[in-house]
Symmetry: C2
Subunit: 343 residues, 2 copies
Amino acid sequence: MRMRTVNIVLAGFGRVGRAFARLAAEKSDLCRERYGLDPAVRAVFTSNGGALGEGPLPLGPYLGGGGPEDIKGAEFWRQGLRPDIAFATIEPGVLVDCTPSDIKTGEPALSHITSAISRGWHVVAASKGALVLKFREITDLAAKRGVRLRYSGAVGAALPALDVGIPSLAGTEVLGIEGILNGTTNFILSRMAEGMEYDKAVQEAKDKGIAEPDPTMDVDGWDTACKILLITNAVLLTSFGLDDVQVEGIRGISHELIAKAAQLGKAIKLMGKCSKESREDPWKVDVGLALLDPGHPLYGIDGTNKGITFYTDTMGAITVAGGKSDPRGTGAAILKDIIRIYL
Amino acid sequence: MRMRTVNIVLAGFGRVGRAFARLAAEKSDLCRERYGLDPAVRAVFTSNGGALGEGPLPLGPYLGGGGPEDIKGAEFWRQGLRPDIAFATIEPGVLVDCTPSDIKTGEPALSHITSAISRGWHVVAASKGALVLKFREITDLAAKRGVRLRYSGAVGAALPALDVGIPSLAGTEVLGIEGILNGTTNFILSRMAEGMEYDKAVQEAKDKGIAEPDPTMDVDGWDTACKILLITNAVLLTSFGLDDVQVEGIRGISHELIAKAAQLGKAIKLMGKCSKESREDPWKVDVGLALLDPGHPLYGIDGTNKGITFYTDTMGAITVAGGKSDPRGTGAAILKDIIRIYL
């Protein structure tokens, strides 16, 4: 098998970025043997510096707990170094963007992604901000430059929502989409269905490392909104922005209500939805609580699990569920995206 | 968009073949506008004759109820015409094989498929026999000749089992596979869970057109065995044959047992499984009844629904479920396979 080296520029060295780098090392034999690919992380950047190697960077000692802080002590680290230098000097491969998602400015991902595409690099994004704000601009730019843009990790970690929503449904008309796309809120609602109060369930999610210290993006529905927005734009070729999404979260919901639904054999879930009244109407995208009967394909999606159902004209309803929500699961989704760019 | 005509030779004109031909006509605008493809059914063959057109065949009047009998009355029908003439004289496109599955000889699919591949035609198979008997030979031949071989419809109609099992799991190690892959037996078991006796449930399945007049292949587990075998060979790059699969069906199972499991909140399902005791052990493929707890990802797959779970090292468990099991669903899977060959 012909071996192909894939140069990787990694932007962001937080939990996801490091999980991906660990996985790329761990899976290098598999990548070579099964896919003829040799992924080489040639550069890493954080908000205030970076590293650029002649070959693969010796990241081993920095893939543990310390993260962005630790790597600054590395011999190869350069304060103030910016990704542009990597895109300009290394043979184009893949930018892996794992920077924090900023849905107000899209930065720093937006600058990284546009710069990478302009230089002929493929892009795999795990961050949401740039894609949510400039979806059509970025996809058009990638198409024009002839590079691939993939973002499985941004819409649901290891849940293959886009794989099922696009290639698997080729030739169908999608009639609607419904997803449980945020593991944190689903965990909270599952605990509340067992009788726990909202504040306690949120605290447990934080204690277990499921929720971030500030869970606003999750509990107010914005993470779900970003995901259903990206999935809708990708699957239905729309150009919605966050302003077009009606968003309702789970904050302050009464646990009596949820427990009562559970007693009646139903489930209350935070759903991202894309729907229309009839075929002629425009699509509506919204996020809010939904009461599901046991016959609903997403009824059994409990705890931190996620799932998404696509309703089609010719294939009926197809649901995909599961997939790890943790940084390792997102790292695995990034690796999958890279492999598929070259297959 | 550049338009590309895709010449199609359709072998088999039963329920699936006709459903596919109807769908190809119905979806021709979508194929052109979204994918730049113009699928043209240029030839149709049944066991005792065929038709070959200068352009797309005027199949419209023959897509209804009558099937293979009706089309023999068509002006363009030639008694005794064989597919080889089509592969030799038309610019290569896709052989769509919808002939009946014969798991003893693999014919007539085996002859059609090898002849098509040798002439540089891609193959989309909805029939199982040839693939079950000669999986590695056929895939090797296709690889050598540089053509694509797809068979989504053969492993679960519109359920995208292979899409999730191969591209979506790229870079993972698959640790096991479990699937409810036969809608007929799952329907029968679902009715029995409600208290119905086996014979009555089988009769209802026949009356509703879910089961065939002779449901042996389904109730004795052979349909499930063929599907889990093909999925295992495709996903895990194994070369199992039917002799390697331990097969147990549902015939004569006691309805008291099933109803009792349902009362205890569990479900009894006919599962196709690929598993191993530890990483070093060889894979075992089997079909048999399994008792599922509510937490199992396939617990909620009821009625004629199907579903499959892939267990992986880095992405956790991923389950895909649903997708129509009828000829139209299989036709949609064939159309998807064709589109993806050219994308």
